[in-house]
Amino acid sequence: MHSTFRNNLWFLLLGLLGLLLFVANLGIGSVMLPWTEVLKALFHTTHADTTALVIVNQYRMPQAITALATGILLSMSGLVLQTLFRNPLAGPSVLGISSGASLGVAVVLLSGSVAGVDLSSLAVVGNLTVVLAALAGALLVLGIILFVSARVANVITVLIIGIMLGYAVSAVVSVLQFFSGSEDLHAYVLWGLGSFSKATVQQSFLLLFTAFAGVAILFFYVKPLNALLLGEDYARSIGFRPMRIQRVLIFVTGILVAVGTAFTGPIAFLGLAVPHLARGLFKTSQQGVLLPATILTGASLALFCNLLAKLPGYDISLPINAVTSLVGAPVIIWVIMKSRHVKWG
């Protein structure tokens, strides 16, 4: 196909952009470091400044890796879910998994004060506890979704149940919020704003590993995902089992979203917007092109948002969730306006 050249050029550009943004994430932050110091610290040369070593390797590196990995995790999950549910507005949040994570976190952060103890003031709730609670909550919801999907024949029913489950879980969280002390509430709200900087070095590598594992698994599902573009009956008629594919992919993306959300909190819009951005750039629906395109675009956009959130030149930083929403929503509007000559189903 003559479009292969154009696609490869885009892949190359996106790859370079991602690399550039990754390096920028290491070099830019609230502390001004000269680039020479950043590079020295990065490569652990003997003359490296100790402060620079700590800032670059202990703070900026895990943050950049977390942004990169989360961008990949959420974006490719979004693509797969949009294809699976054949719905352009599907995204990682539709299965209620991030709400599940919120519930887990709300339970550990807020239930103490419901019982009369301010847990956050006791400092018993550490980073790892929050991560595990988020993971537990997300997996609980995923379990329910899988249980349901094994019993209903229609994938759209699963989608609706996922959305409703999300609402129900959020309601429980609201009740917990209502009865909790202000300090706990503050801690919970902060978690809900999302952050790429909470993950430790090891955790950031765990995220990266999860992202790569997800990429490896999903590449095996390119052909079935393509087949599902025509709908379940056509997919069956060319030899696929739509139900089985749907269940496996809901499980895989569910795990990816659960792990991502556990370490970063809910990140809005990335998973929804990036697949559209990739489609707009590559003008194709072939999943074999869109999957790598989404991965590269997702990594770049997450790194870009993180850079914006750092507010270069200022001392403070913005919550990542606000930045991803501010960047993501216009992207979706742009893509839809741009393709308005094409009728939507």
Binding site: T83, R86, N87, P88, F220, V222, K223, N226, A227, L229, L230, G231, D233, Y234, R236, S237, I238, G239, F240, R241, R279, K283, T284, S285, Q286, G288, S339, V342, K343, W344, G345
Partner: protein, 346 residues
Amino acid sequence: MEMTLKIENLTTGYRSGKKSGVVLQQKINAILKTGQLVCVLGPNGAGKSTLLKTIAGFHAPLSGEIYFGDHPLNTLSLKKLSRLASVVLTERFSDLYLTAFDVVRMGRFPYVSFFGRMKKEDMVLINQTMDKLGVGSLKEKLFYNLSDGERQKVLIARALVQDTPFLFLDEPVAFIDSPGRIEIMEILSELAHRLGKAVLMTTHDMETGLRYADILWLMQRGKPLLAGIPEDMVLQGNVGEYFQRSGLHFDVGKGRFRAESKSLRNLGIVFVKNGGHESAWLTNAMERKGFTVVQEESTPEQGIFVEYKNGSFRLYQNAKPMGEVQRIAAVLEKIEAWGNGTQVGK
């Protein structure tokens, strides 16, 4: 490859929560052979699509058996089935950037590797098939922006590159304009008669069924499936019976329905000299208005007579020339003016 599809005592319907299920059709027995174009013909709601989807393996039958050759459908793996039967459905795709080529390409999925990489032969087959169906120039076009007729041809191309002896199509000519309908039906006939495929399609369009089907499967809720040659089924009165609705009368000669209420408006008899396109269309116009048309060779003693001669319609009343006009509109005007509410002719 010569092959027969056999349907034995099939009951179709839905299993919707209730254990018994909703029965649509019972005790269906039929045979579909390669080289035949079979139209499943029946009014809306007769269960045609459900039958097609049951045969294609999308719905489980409530009871009964379907055999592809000697193999019962439920023992065939999806992989094997995908090399026996391909489908064209009414389902619409929602994806924005799906091109016509992307759609056709998927027909090769049962044959290509795990990652879906096309070999040179696959590409040649796809290109040849799309060219043959006249959609070769649409390859890079978005499927969404194609016309209904173009989409249907692209979908047929997709089914053809799947290279199966059986081809099942659900309402392939619904929503398609008349020339497009004929184009598609000619393609399907050729697939059956020249390529030796077994083509099974549903349609609620009687004209299409009567004109193109080698075999009709007549369906109607509550009646057994009847199979036969369309002409015999018209003459035996089966077609009229299966589509029967109160107030409609089946015209066996023309193979179409007419409202019985038209006869209430009977304005009288008009004699028309037979032969020629003009006479045929004049008859059409007169019947629409509520006249009974009788073909006559020469001017009758009594009544209104119209003949087409040397480029104009000549009118006679009781054998007396009443002038000539160029257009059927003018003929109607004149005759209706004479009638003026009272009976014309006899």
